[in-house]
Every structure is written in C-alpha cells, then in structure tokens.
C-alpha cells in the first residue's frame, strides 16, 4: 500500500532529456530490463524539449475500461497495475486506448507491462526509481507540502481533457500558476492531414506574462 501523503509530481518544464529515468527504470528486475517510462518530444522539429511520461493512474483508467480480458486492476491505493499475466491476451487494446501512451506491449511475454509507480518500492515507503535519479527533479515523489515549498510559482493539477474526455489522475502535473489551461482537441487532430509541422503547446505563455507583470 502506497502511503496517501506521498504523491507523484511531474514537471515537464524541468525535463532536460537526460534519459536517466529511462535508464534507471530499465535496470529494475521486476519488469525484466525494459523501461516503463519514456520521454516524449514536445516539438521535435524546433526544440529539444522533452517530457517524461509515467503512468498517471487515472481515476477511470481507460486501459482497464477497454481490457476485454479483465486483466488490468487497480489496487486500493489507486495504482493501476501491470496486466495480470494469467489473464492478459496481448490484444493491444490498452496500448491503443491510453491517451498518454503508457502501456507497453511485450509480445515476447504476451503481456502488457506498464508503469506501476514502482509498486515494490513505493509500497515500502521508498521513492520510485525515476524520481530518485532525476537530476532536475522533473519527476518528484513526496508530500504536497514539500512540492509547494520547492515550486512556489507552479501549481499541481491532475485534470486532463482530451476532446470530450476529462481525465482525473493520481499523478500530478506541475503547471505555471497563472497560465491558462490548454485543451487538445484529439478528435480534430485525428482527421487532420499531417502538414509536417507539429502542434506546439504554448504552455509557457502564461509564465512570461506573470514575469512581466512583476
């Protein structure tokens, strides 16, 4: 059981793309040398900015909702676990359904494996592997008081909206305190032809406004 006061905070602004988390994650024996975390490039054509992607442990996990084999379960502390090996049929539904791209299909094991917030560590009161190695603390695991003290200009949010779907998660994302919320219209993007340009998320806009007003 992961203690309630310990929460995961993700701060994509602070990610320096060093891949230390990926390396640390893949060293864990509980998922056989595969990394359950990956870095996303925000706008690869124009920037080296990356964001780490851990499982956000949704209140209504889409991966579990679409699982035809009833293999994905959530423990009492809200952590969505890797698919149960005897049940998983390796159908890839969860991989396609997750809006964050978290579940990883390992066809050699015929099993979906995903970030479980290092359940073996966090349930014993330790920090997840990625949060212990992150040099810029883009991945932070601790209490809410600690993060508020460390990041006075950021605010934690755990609500994401993809088109019509609003997702509330266990993991928090640190955002600029005075920034305005951006919503991605996923369904519109699906019918859009690729133009070779990527959509840029102007997530830092609000922060600049805040600096100028001071």
């Amino acid at each position: 059981m992961v203690p309630d006061q310990n929460e995961f905070f993700m701060d994509p602004n602070r990610c320096i793309g060093c891949q230390a988390c990926v390396q640390a994650c893949s060293e864990c024996e509980t998922h056989k040398g595969y990394s359950m975390i990956h870095l996303d490039y925000v706008d690869r054509a124009h920037s080296v900015q990356t964001t780490p992607v851990v499982c956000l442990h949704c209140d209504s996990p889409t991966c579990a909702e679409v699982c035809p084999a009833d293999a994905i379960k959530k423990t009492a502390d809200g952590v969505v676990q890797t698919a149960l090996k005897p049940r998983c049929i390796a159908c890839n539904n969860c991989v396609l359904a997750c809006p964050f791209g978290v579940p990883k299909m390992k066809t050699e094991f015929k099993l979906m494996m995903k970030c479980d917030m290092c359940y073996d560590r966090t349930s014993e009161g330790l920090k997840p592997m990625c949060a212990t190695v992150c040099p810029s603390q883009a991945l932070f695991f601790g209490t809410r008081q600690e993060i508020e003290l460390l990041r006075p200009r950021s605010v934690a949010t755990n609500q994401f909206r993809f088109g019509e779907q609003t997702i509330t998660t266990k993991v928090n994302m640190m955002l600029p305190k005075f920034g305005k919320a951006e919503y991605v219209d996923v369904t519109a993007a699906m019918s859009e032809r690729s133009s070779g340009k990527t959509i840029s998320l102007n997530i830092l806009d609000g922060m600049y406004d805040e600096e100028q007003s001071q």
């Binding site: 203690p3 996990p61 579990a64 909702e65 959530k74 423990t75 009492a76």
Partner: protein
C-alpha cells in the same frame, strides 16, 4: 491515512456509483479489492454446491460398484500356448474387453504373469523390462514390479490390474481381472 480495503476508487466513465452500473461492470470491477471480494452469500453457495457434488459423487461410486458386481466375472479366454513364449519374453493380448490391452510375461520356466498394459497414472502403455524385473512407463518414468504389479517409482499410486492366469495342459487362459487400489 490509508484507505479502507473495499472503498470504490475507480470512477466509471458515466460518473455514477457502482451500484447503478450495468451488471457486467459490477461483475468485472477494475478495483483490485472489489474484484477479489467474495460475499458471504457467494461463499455459502459455493460450499453448498460443492458438497452436493461430492455427495452425488459418492452415490455414483456406489451405483458403479453395484453395476460392476452384477456384470459378474470376466469370461475365460485362451491367450497363448506355453511354448509360444521364451523365458523373459512378453506377449500383448486383449482382455476382457476389446479396448483393454494386457501383457503376458514369462518370468521363469513355469511362471507366467499378466497385467493390464495401462499405467494407473495416466493410462500410457507400459513397457515390460524383465531384465530389470519391472514394467516401465515412459510417459512419466513410472515403474511397476514385475512379480506383483506394485508401484516402485514415479507418479502412479495404484498397482497395475493383475490378470488371473490358469495353465491347462499347454494352453494359458486368462480367467479374471484383479483390480487393486493399493
């Protein structure tokens, strides 16, 4: 604070509580605690039905024994002549029904033994090895004693069914089957 074990954590997409959800969603909850929870009623139902099945099984065994007794002794059937087998030789024959293969082994000048060929573990065909004084089952390395049919090694628990033999003149007859459980 640690949450209680059975608190509903997962919020269904329509936002209503679990009791208002369709039956399939109640039957396959996402929450671990909810999925592993067994109600007293379900547990009792399982226990009652299982014990009922066991009771019915006992009656079935009684009926089977009764029917077997009524069928009576197996018929007497000539198998081979005494000079047909050398010492240490073996012969497969069918007795008492058409799908029951058995093995006749000549262990000494005047000693013949016969057993069912079906291993008592999973009905593989056993192989006679008179030089090692045993029947060997290649499926799971089971062994039976050649002289008594008793188990020596491997997974089988019951001895091989013995075929009663009778030598009249120079003909060997099978006169019955002795099924032993130990």
């Amino acid at each position: 604070m640690i949450r209680s074990e059975r608190e509903e954590l997962t919020i269904p997409p329509d936002g209503r509580s679990l009791d208002e959800q369709p039956k399939w969603r109640q039957d396959f909850p996402i929450d671990w605690a909810e999925a592993h929870y067994v109600s007293r009623r379900d547990f009792t139902k399982f226990m009652v039905l299982t014990s009922l099945a066991f009771t019915a099984g006992q009656f079935w065994i009684i009926v089977r024994n009764f029917l077997r007794k009524r069928r009576g002794e197996a018929r007497i059937q000539p198998i081979a002549t005494t000079d047909q087998l050398p010492i240490g030789g073996s012969l497969a024959f069918i007795y008492p029904e058409s799908h029951d293969t058995c093995l006749l082994v000549r262990t000494a000048e005047k000693t013949f033994v016969a057993y069912s060929q079906k291993c008592t573990h999973l009905s593989c065909a056993v192989v006679p090895q008179p030089d090692k004084s045993r029947f060997y089952c290649p499926c799971h390395e089971g062994s039976f004693d050649l002289a008594t049919g008793a188990t020596i090694a491997g997974p089988p628990q019951r001895p091989l069914p013995r075929i009663r033999l009778e030598v009249r003149g120079d003909l060997i007859y099978a006169t019955g089957v002795e099924v032993k459980t130990i």
